[in-house]
Symmetry: C2
Subunit: 326 residues, 2 copies
Amino acid sequence: MTEDALVESIRSIVTSPASRRLRVGIGDDAAAWQPSRSHLSVITTDALIETVHFTRAAMRADDVGHRALAANLSDIAAMGARPILATIAFGISSEVDETWVCDFYRGLAALADRTGTAIAGGDIVRAPVVSISITVVGEVRATSIKTRDGARPGDILAVTGPLGASRAGCEILLDRPDLANDARFADALHAFRRPEPRLRAGRFLGVSRNVHAMMDTSDGIASDLSRMCAASNVGAVLDRLPIAPAAERYCVQCELEQQSFALEAGEDFELLVAIDPRAFGYIAARFRAHTGHALIGIGEVTAETGIRTRAGSLVVARGYDHLTPR
Amino acid sequence: MTEDALVESIRSIVTSPASRRLRVGIGDDAAAWQPSRSHLSVITTDALIETVHFTRAAMRADDVGHRALAANLSDIAAMGARPILATIAFGISSEVDETWVCDFYRGLAALADRTGTAIAGGDIVRAPVVSISITVVGEVRATSIKTRDGARPGDILAVTGPLGASRAGCEILLDRPDLANDARFADALHAFRRPEPRLRAGRFLGVSRNVHAMMDTSDGIASDLSRMCAASNVGAVLDRLPIAPAAERYCVQCELEQQSFALEAGEDFELLVAIDPRAFGYIAARFRAHTGHALIGIGEVTAETGIRTRAGSLVVARGYDHLTPR
């Protein structure tokens, strides 16, 4: 397997209708495209390391490809943007063969196709373990871009779906293989292997001036809401968090406290938003009509910093820190 | 060292005047900027893996940072473009501390500043070895973009500088530490540790319609010229290659054949161009006046495929393939 031959195989997998946007595609020193004259460009990068973020025993190559791109698309969704193109830096270990690599690109390319994301290029190198770094460029109107620093006291905090299923799936794959074939947890495994970035929801919420702040929940509400509050210089009170049915079953099975699990569970790609309270009802109704999903209120932004429950106790728990051993 | 604390340290290192171009910078789900309305955007990604591309014993953290960004900027230069921003995916191993990481970003940020490249964000994860993946976005007028597929029979092939110094430095660091403190090889070590992307040269050559194809020489002339010829569906005859004085001394020291060394030596960030023969003299004179360097002819593009010497023997040697063990 030489680099040029492998690049040729990959090029045939990732070429799609979205590639037409590219003036120069895979195979040159850089790719080129004409950015929209009326939009801002956005860019995000995520890295996925074998043994740290996934294991080949627990995840199929095409699922790794899907999930790796989905993580980036979730960041694009969180800005209110649409994806344009992606580049992939791929570190191949001696443990994987051409089939694994091509399956990875097939899983990634299927999601790229479906979301209109052109694969614009990348780099392929040797590495001790499979190491994937994906960068996605998107576009958004300057009037629709959303950041995490705009939450205001009184805003309603909401998420685009129930929490915890993806985290439950991750824990089952890593720590509870005995549950992996249990039909009660199929949804949890699917949520982890094939998370769906909330691109449609993100664009819908992006155009509303009453959505003051938005981010994704990939590190868990505890950690992500802390970041939104810090960026906005506000605090929050939390109501009961919505937990996905599969995550609820997992908590019952493993005797875990459900609200703590929902609060700490990362791996989800829902969006967290702060919405003007006067507009929340209207936006939630239109959100349901537009996406088919509920926009679920989870609390309220406060002027006082810190995150508390309605009963007043401080939520001291922290989310998943990428650099702290778990 | 928590992720949020480390991100804060890094943010203070990489914030520069170029950051003003960003509408949203480090710390949100994605960064945002206003692309030029009159240019194409270009994007390139390169990965650098410890033990594969560098060792911490042989290279200082700031040199690794410089070199990692320089590799990407060289690709931007090869398109005739100027850099706008970069994102960095950084896999940190348990072997490196915060000082190493910050020194890496300092080396990278100094080159970014000097070239007007804003650091727009990235991702920081744990990894078994230091794993760096950098993506750079640049801009170029549609009339100035250069690719590798435009070489025409009769074109003069030229490079923007003598070859081999960087490769000699790399080999000394990896295989001949006994030569590392020899003053005769200081230039070679510097060429490897602090390669200078040819951004000014690339932009100058990009605007000329008589420059038909351009790419960088990071994998060595044998490999890179093969790629240009394949993309352009042409062949080439090669004259004597220009070899850097430090590389010449290294070849003498190690009893290596100089022309083979210059042909195979990767790690260089010179540009390889195919230029209309009627315009070559004029462009070379203006190139020297503009950049202070010679544009050095190395051969000619032929209709017949394959790369040959003037004497007619086939240059079968191949360059460095990233996936073939050396």
